[in-house]
């Protein structure tokens, strides 16, 4: 935990379009334990205490390919809005109060969907810019691009 008083509220927003119907993409990403299957940077993942991966409140515990370990709690899952919200419990990134949402919306004039991934967190002011760039590009955009290629665009 940080013990100095100064922290910056940082926000990240990354979005893209995917050439597949929202329902088909949702089937891949609604599984809170599926990061190794669709993102390029997660090596392995498990849900703690053998809970179902769509049980709100469950915790995923995963390792990155670079060795970092992250624990995240599922805060909300909506099969109606096609959205998933989670918080970070532990990570090597130096972020506090991190809450993120991944959401799909159909693009109705084609069999496509709009994917948006956003996050808010507190961090040391001098690290905000670097963290926003890292999370927006190396995490969210990298994962969305992997999804794009998976669905053939």
């Amino acid at each position: 935990m940080r013990n100095d008083e100064e922290a910056t509220l940082a926000k990240v927003y990354t979005s893209s379009t995917l050439d597949a119907p929202a329902g088909q993409v949702w089937a891949v990403i609604r599984d809170f334990n599926a990061l190794p299957a669709w993102t390029p940077f997660v090596a392995e993942s498990r849900i703690e205490q053998n809970q179902p991966s769509d049980k709100v409140g469950c915790i995923r515990n995963f390792t990155l390919k670079d060795g970092g370990r992250i624990r995240e709690r599922l805060l909300a899952l909506s099969d109606y809005d096609l959205s998933c919200t989670y918080s970070i419990l532990e990570s090597p990134m130096g972020v506090e109060n991190y809450v993120s949402t991944l959401k799909l919306t159909p693009i109705t004039d084609g069999d496509r969907c709009f994917a948006e991934w956003s996050a808010e967190f507190d961090c040391a002011p001098e690290r905000a810019q670097e963290l926003v760039a890292h999370i927006g590009t190396n995490v969210f955009l990298a994962a969305l691009q992997a999804l794009k290629s998976r669905f053939g665009s």
Binding site: Y13, S16, T17, T105, P106, D109, F114, L141
Partner: protein, 148 residues
């Protein structure tokens, strides 16, 4: 019975280019192919929440709609129908823009809810979906084709 509708598209221009047109509550006479002419009543500014636009369709019908929310933060506007020649009770619609950050594009989502009489439900739902939203979004897409 209440109907909920949503139509959306991606416009090949950045949000900063598209929003200035759409936040103008009177601009539909410029971009929507079904609109003949439109004016804001009582000389109010088109971005004043509460403003009423009175407009005629190319078929001669007269409608009035009121702006009930406008957000330069969310890039969204919400309006309701005050008068129309067709029974679209409780009609409230929201148009919202979002940036597509991995390209200079804009996602446009247009949705509404309303309560048509049961015997005209399919007809009126189709009318709103196709002649208002799909036609309007297609015109916007064409207008901004090429990035501006």
């Amino acid at each position: 019975m209440a109907v909920r509708l949503a139509r959306s598209t991606v416009i090949e221009a950045p949000l900063d280019t598209v929003w200035p047109l759409l936040r103008d509550f009177n601009s539909h006479e410029i971009w929507h192919p079904a609109i003949g002419s439109s004016q804001i009543e009582a000389g109010e500014p088109a971005d004043e929440v509460g403003a009423v636009r009175a407009f005629t369709l190319k078929d001669g019908s007269v409608l009035r709609e009121q702006l009930i929310a406008l957000s330069d933060h969310d890039h969204s506007l919400t309006y309701c129908l005050l008068e129309a020649p067709i029974p679209l009770d409780d009609y409230v619609a929201t148009m919202r823009l979002k940036p597509v950050t991995d390209g200079d594009k804009t996602f446009v989502d247009w949705r509404s809810s309303f309560s048509p009489p049961a015997d005209r439900l399919l007809e009126l739902t189709r009318l709103v979906a196709e002649e208002v939203y799909e036609a309007g979004l297609a015109a916007l897409k064409a207008r901004f084709a090429g990035g501006r």
